[in-house]
């Protein structure tokens, strides 16, 4: 920084005053300038479109013709009167629960195993993360075939054990299990690593005093690890909720038609939104679905927060 000190010396008093003024502006406004890209972009592509979705949902709005007349809540009452909406809602929740619950249980198990004094720690951690780099579209194409009704490998294996083939692409519940499996495949290891990081932050003395008091490994896990993981668990569950309720890629590519099954067996709300907007070119109704889904996610997020808090703190009291 010698150059800058050299530069200051020959300056006249007036120029110093001016540069000081500039410097003051620099200090005052630079922080706002630095954070502005996020806020501008969020306003333009996040907040404004979300609010504008509400405006669109109150109009008849065609993808090609554009804005039509104001229709009040007609789009909402149409959507809410459609059986498809309720099927999609049920499927979305069903897939979400089928993926979130086993995923968190397994992630906890994997994290607990990785938290031991392993040889080749980095290798095992990496191997757990491997599915994360496979794009959901690819996962869907692979599992769509593994779960093939006729020739699928999974039905083949079941056949060897004497179980009759399962209609993975015809039966609603089975198809949702298959789609939840894809989500679990990709995200369990990722969440396990987050939980592992949380576990390693738990003070080891806690385990020691518990061990001295005679608590076994399982008891230590439920009475120390789980309660101590509370913030991490809340984080994992909330992220899983926000993503899980918007699920699109996996069900969309589960078969070659992408409409959620002939009888809407795996139609989710986001696919329904897409079908309304870009299939039937009705943006008003699509926007109504978007708003409803938005509300659902916010409500579920809050319920989630309340439940996780309670569970975790109850276990802490045992």
């Amino acid at each position: 920084m010698t150059t800058s000190t050299l530069r200051v010396k020959p300056r006249t008093p007036r120029r110093i005053a001016f540069s000081q003024q500039v410097g003051r502006w620099d200090i005052k406004f630079s922080p706002y300038l630095y954070i502005s890209p996020f806020f501008i972009l969020f306003a333009v592509v996040g907040l404004f479109p979300l609010l504008y979705t509400g405006w669109v949902s109150l109009h008849h709005w065609d993808l090609i013709a554009g804005e039509g007349p104001w229709v009040g809540f007609d789009n909402f009452s149409f959507v809410l009167g459609q059986q498809q909406f309720w099927i999609a809602l049920r499927n979305t929740f069903s897939i979400f629960l089928l993926s979130a619950v086993p995923q968190i249980v397994f992630a906890l198990l994997i994290a607990a195993v990785l938290d031991t004094n392993l040889r080749g720690r980095t290798f095992w951690r990496m191997s757990v993360l491997l599915p994360y780099i496979i794009m959901p579209v690819a996962v869907a194409l692979i599992f769509g075939q593994l779960f093939g009704d006729k020739y699928g490998l999974i039905n083949g294996i079941l056949g060897h054990v004497g179980i009759p083939p399962i209609g993975w692409h015809t039966d609603a519940f089975s198809s949702q299990v298959a789609i939840a499996t894809m989500v679990n495949f990709r995200w369990t290891g990722y969440n396990a690593l987050i939980l592992l990081a949380g576990m390693q932050a738990i003070p080891r003395d806690l385990y020691e005093s518990a061990a001295i008091d005679g608590a076994g490994r399982v008891r230590r896990f439920f009475s120390i690890t789980i309660p101590q993981l509370r913030p991490t668990l809340i984080f994992v569950i909330i992220t899983a909720t926000i993503g899980g309720l918007q699920i699109f890629d996996e069900p969309r590519l589960y078969d070659q038609y992408g409409t959620g099954g002939a009888d809407h067996q795996w139609l989710t709300l986001t696919i329904y939104l897409y079908n309304l907007g870009w299939g039937q070119l009705d943006f008003g109704r699509a926007a109504a679905v978007a708003w409803l889904l938005f509300l659902i996610i916010v409500i579920i997020g809050l319920i989630n927060l309340a439940i996780t808090r309670r569970i975790a703190s109850n276990e802490g009291r045992i």
Binding site: M1, S4, T5, V8, D26, K28, S30, Y32, Y34, I35, P37, F38, L41, F42, G46, F48, P49, T53, W55, T116, N117, L118, M126, V128, L129, L130, Y132, I133, I134, M135, P136, V137, A138, I142, Q145, G148, Y151, F185, G189, I194, L196, A197, Q200, R204, D205, I212, P231, F235, I238, Q246, R252, Q256, T270, L273, G277, W278, L293, F294, I297, G301
Partner: protein, 306 residues
């Protein structure tokens, strides 16, 4: 574990805690789970590794066969000889635009990663180190936006993009992703703990302007976190399907969109579809081989604090 061993372990932990020179984490770790895990644990992890690899290997088996391989009852565990031929069917299909989609994905992911890193580091630096009115509230706002499902705003976003005439162009995919709340939060966390205030003050005393201080002091010290952010943003952008699928058209797709087209075109012959899946997975697989360690470290260091 015997009682004596336990007591011994306890003393080690105590002495480690009292003497500051002792290698703390190791001593602590040994005292809790002093025994190395048995082969059951390794067996369990090996099963998980096989489970992670199996779908890819199976795709390779099918993708290296022909159209009848998928219906094979006794599938051979050794790949067949048709992979190159199937891969050529993928890249030469005019409806799928494989090479173009690969190039597009490289462009989109690179530009988005670079921009997210730059803007997030700028904002993270401001939030972590600079003083300005409303800082706390603004930072909380940034964090809160992470819980907003902005993906649901696709309808107006699409309307806006068609008004601008941007539908079908890469700009429509790039611009909405130029900076992320996650990135800002991530960099704020890192710079807050990694960059000493004294360094910034020294630069300021030496007469460096705000942006100069950022460029020559903050940015270099934020490099490890910036690299991880770039890595994650790259993967997220690379694998993203929903918005590119909506806003791009079939003649100018990104890789996931092109894969979806592949299934639509070739659903009668899954050896070609799954060969395409393998081709599309290779780039990130290579990235994973080289940067998997960093990915693990990144997930374990940053995401927890949310």
């Amino acid at each position: 574990m015997t009682a004596t061993a336990e007591r011994g372990a306890r003393t080690t932990a105590k002495s480690a805690a009292t003497s500051p020179r002792a290698p703390k984490p190791r001593a602590r770790r040994r005292s809790v789970v002093s025994d190395r895990p048995g082969f059951l644990v390794y067996g369990f992890l090996a099963v998980i590794l096989l489970g992670a690899l199996f779908p890819l290997y199976w795709s390779l088996l099918i993708g290296s066969g022909d159209s009848s391989t998928i219906a094979e009852q006794n599938l051979s565990w050794i790949p067949g000889g048709n992979f190159i031929q199937n891969a050529l069917s993928v890249v030469n299909n005019e409806g799928v635009n494989f090479w173009k989609s690969l190039g597009n994905s490289v462009i989109v992911s690179t530009v988005v990663s670079a921009s997210v890193v730059l803007f997030s580091t700028l904002a993270g630096y401001a939030f972590a180190k600079l003083r300005f009115r409303g800082k706390r509230g603004l930072l909380i706002f940034v964090i809160a936006t992470m819980a907003v499902p902005t993906q649901l705003a696709v309808v107006p976003l699409f309307i806006a993009m068609s008004d601008f005439g941007w539908t079908g162009t890469l700009g429509a995919v790039i611009v909405p992703a130029l900076v992320s709340a996650f990135g800002v939060f991530w960099m704020t966390q890192y710079i807050g703990q990694a960059l000493p205030d004294e360094l910034i003050e020294a630069a300021r005393v030496d007469g460096a302007s705000m942006i100069r201080t950022f460029w020559s002091v903050a940015l270099p010290s934020a490099r490890p976190a910036a690299a991880m952010l770039a890595l994650f943003t790259f993967i997220m952008t690379w694998t993203n399907f929903f918005w590119p699928f909506i806003v791009l058209n079939n003649s100018n797709p990104t890789l996931p969109v092109s894969l979806a087209l592949l299934q639509a075109n070739y659903f009668v012959d899954y050896s070609i579809v799954l060969a395409g899946v393998i081709l599309a997975t290779v780039p990130l697989f290579i990235l994973f081989v080289f940067a998997g360690k960093q990915l693990v470290a990144g997930i374990m260091s940053g995401a927890v604090k949310g």
